[in-house]
Amino acid sequence: MSILVNKDTKVIVQGFTGKEGTFHAEQCLAYGTNIVGGVTPNKGGQEHLGKPVFNTVKDAVDTTGATVSMIFVPPAFVADAVMEAADAGIELAVIITEGAPVRDMMYAKQYAVKNNMKTIGPNCPGVITAEECKIGIMPGMIFKKGNVGLISKSGTLTYEGANQVCNEGFGITTAVGIGGDPIIGLSYKQLLPMFEADPETEAIVMIGEIGGDLEIQAAKLIKEQITKPVVAFIAGQTAPKGKRMGHAGAIISGSAGTAKEKMDALEAAGVKVVVSPAEIGKAVAEVLGKK
């Protein structure tokens, strides 16, 4: 078991024949992801990486029965691609592209929600169910199969966390990089209950950062609904006030959204909060008992 995706999930790639799309689709195929085709307008009927190319998402879905789309189109076309996927009945869109305008995402997210399509990202490493299905740009080899679910705003911290968990002798069920943009798809609030319901997941690692209040909402939800042990790290304890640290979302204004505030809320909800990401693996070993 796992959440969101597994070895049977049929995946298409929007922006399939572009440089990024090609490179990462190839990596995903090598990992074992069931990519059944891709979409590039005006290249319908061609074959790419041994898979069929379609002009529209609708054509791709009709022909292949795909339920998930991995989106690599350039930033200015992200909203259009997301809405096309939603319109075609895709169930989950994983948006890797960085730099999509916020206004575009406002509309795209609303349309996705209206059509019951889940989204992950934008500006994220994607989602991976260890040793089954990788939809994104993460290095597959560090994700060994196991019993820990992982949710992270940051890409490289996802790898760091997963690597430590595996080095301690544990492994990952599913890891989701949710991205750090102002408007994102699935977040802790939706993903934590999925991990709670997944029989294989025995502990959850959540990695957050300064800015916004998603982690505060997560703390509230954990207190009320989550019985599995949660380990958390919040990046940006040493970030200067008012400065932007790469992610558009990581802005502190006033007291709202500071690392301290989030760490306190999570701790009060019974979460094991670590002050350095170097402690994530050890903390997981602690809550699960040494292997």
């Binding site: 940051s154 490289t156 790290f233 990046a235 040493t238 640290m245 558009a248």
Partner: protein, 391 residues
Amino acid sequence: MNIHEYQAKQIFAKYGVPTPKGKIAHSVEEAVKNAEELGGPIWVVKAQIHAGGRGLGGGVKLAKSIDEVRALADEILGMTLVTHQTGPEGKLVQKVYIEDGADIKDELYLSVVLDRAAEMPIIMASTEGGMDIETVAEKTPEKIIKVAIDPSIGFQGFHGRELVFGLGITDKAEQGKMIKFAQKLYTLYMENDAEMIEINPLIKTGSGDFMALDGKMGFDDSALGRHPDIEAMRDISEEDADEREAAQYGLSYIALDGEIGCMVNGAGLAMGTMDTINYMGGTPANFLDVGGSANAETVAKGFEIILKNPQVKAIFVNIFGGIVRCDRIANGILEATKITDVNVPVIVRLDGTNAPEAAEILKNANIDNIIVGTDLGDGAAKAVAAAKGEL
């Protein structure tokens, strides 16, 4: 990207949001000429820098004669203005805005920002204009009115009514004017991909008209490509030179005041690295995210920028190679040390794809000041020790 008050007011004017008449000046002579053209009898001389709190810092002053305009422009142009938002080093004033004095009866606050939780723009308003809004939010949150606008329906009548009744505006003509004001502001927020608009104060004049006496605007950097007119308003003299240089190489750099230079891939891991250094008793000298495509050139540039800071006593390179192979980054670091003279200990932690090969490359290079860290904790500990001269 942020713009100046006078530029924000140009955009306001384009959308029919009322502002006092004003003109920008780069010299005392120009300031005097502007004042004469505006006619008076009262003018306000306003320093143009990208920071709030200009009035309290002495950058906004009232003039009752042309001579006073001349004296004030002379005083303000070239001054280093220190406000609570500039940091102690302050900012050099290179432009002054000469504006008609306004007949102020009441001061309000109005802003449009993205409400991340609601995922839509929100109009925030308060009767407590002219004050620090964060203090108002903290001490008297009930005095802040919030109206979220769903972009799929846009600004409707009921949004306007929530706003004016919330502000306690009872005069019907004034209600209409305020609703129009807010509606235009929402439109210009959406059409220009603004990230934030703040008007503090928004004034009511003696004749019951509303006017933007101040204006701050910030824009979504990801959307600037479709707004060349706004991109043209960029004032690079307001941006940190090192941060700008780094950006040209795809690096995201922010200077801090510690001793350990950091070079990391990914914003989250970069912040996490700073946190770890701090936790282990050291102080980070900077945030530096080399992004997803670190190579010899960007790594060399990173070293160069970090080493411009004379306080740096050690550098911690922390890369978790995903798609990027660690052996390539190791070679990049060796190349970089040839391009840039690196005269402090460099602790290198490379993990992920081809990490063992990378460690081998660094070891075989046999460079005295390159020290391998085995993981994040080990690397950070060694960096902290090196900065203290204990390694």
